[in-house]
């Protein structure tokens, strides 16, 4: 259990949020030109690292907005929170 600082509502308990997986995955511009492997890579393959991870979160029981979180998966420490479309405040 940890506290997430929603960029719109402020600090709230983790139970109010839902995780949306890895952030900053860019959709290929021409999906029809990709091989099945390349498409599967985009669609399914996600990092699951121990350490600092860039994630999308949704404040589903609050303002219902999406935002990005930089979280250390080993100790759940949140290093940064930033809105959708903004650049990560720490190096990716």
């Amino acid at each position: 259990m940890f506290i997430i600082n929603c960029p719109y509502c402020g600090e709230r308990d983790q139970t109010e949020f839902s995780s949306g997986g890895e952030a900053h995955i860019v959709r290929p511009k021409q999906p029809t030109e990709l091989s099945d492997d390349e498409w599967a890579e985009f669609l399914f393959m996600r990092k699951n690292i121990k350490g600092i991870q860039f994630e999308r979160w949704n404040h589903s029981h609050g303002c219902r907005k999406w935002f990005n979180v930089v979280r250390d998966t080993s100790n759940d420490k949140i290093h940064a929170v930033y809105k959708m479309g903004e650049k990560p405040p720490v190096n990716k």
């Binding site: 509502c9 029981h61 303002c63």
Partner: protein, 186 residues
């Protein structure tokens, strides 16, 4: 034809704590990210939708609650007739929705409003809410969207130890039973 029959329709008292469902209350959901939207609402209701998070603005008749940067909930502070509700909804719809300035949705039947009064309301809410009520109870007009017994609720602090709780209709009976059950042990 809207049906204002609700599942709760009750009022209970546990020592200092009073719980009651208030209806019929008009509730309208507003969504917009247009600049002129605020002035339009101001002209119709004489209140400007709040921009600051977790706050509300009120006048004698209506309150506007901040739900998200582009979403608000209007509700009437007093019980109002079906005809009056329709008039206001039509007026808002004509001035906002029909000219693409935002969306106006009547959610009167979507939300059930329960009024909680008494010095122990925050003890009751803290039993099953992950929200920290420290700042909420100090500031009149605060708004919080959170969970109460795993159910989504909107809380509006209208005065010291007096708040309005909005819960979705389908969850209202369940939450009402939980509130009553928990209130017995305060």
């Amino acid at each position: 034809m809207l049906n204002f029959e609700t599942t709760v329709q009750d009022s209970k008292s546990y020592g200092d704590l009073t719980l009651s469902e208030v209806e019929p209350i008009l509730k309208i959901n507003l969504r917009s990210n247009k600049r002129e939207f605020s002035t339009k609402i101001g002209k119709i209701l004489s209140i400007i939708p709040p921009i600051e998070a977790n706050t509300s603005s009120s006048n004698e008749d209506y309150s506007i609650l901040w739900l998200s940067p582009d979403e608000w909930l209007i509700y009437s502070n007093n019980k109002i007739s079906y005809e009056q509700q329709n008039l206001l909804e039509e007026n808002l719809f004509k001035n906002i929705s029909s000219i693409n300035q935002g969306s106006v949705t009547n959610v009167t039947d979507h939300w059930v409003m329960i009024n909680l009064k008494g010095s122990k309301i925050y003890d009751l809410l803290s039993k099953s809410s992950p929200y920290d009520f420290k700042n909420f109870k100090m500031k009149k007009g605060s708004v919080a969207q959170t969970l109460l017994n795993h159910t989504d609720v909107i809380l509006h602090n209208i005065d010291d130890n007096n708040l309005n709780l909005f819960v979705r209709r389908s969850f209202s009976e369940d939450l009402w039973l939980w509130i009553n059950d928990s209130a017995r042990f305060l």
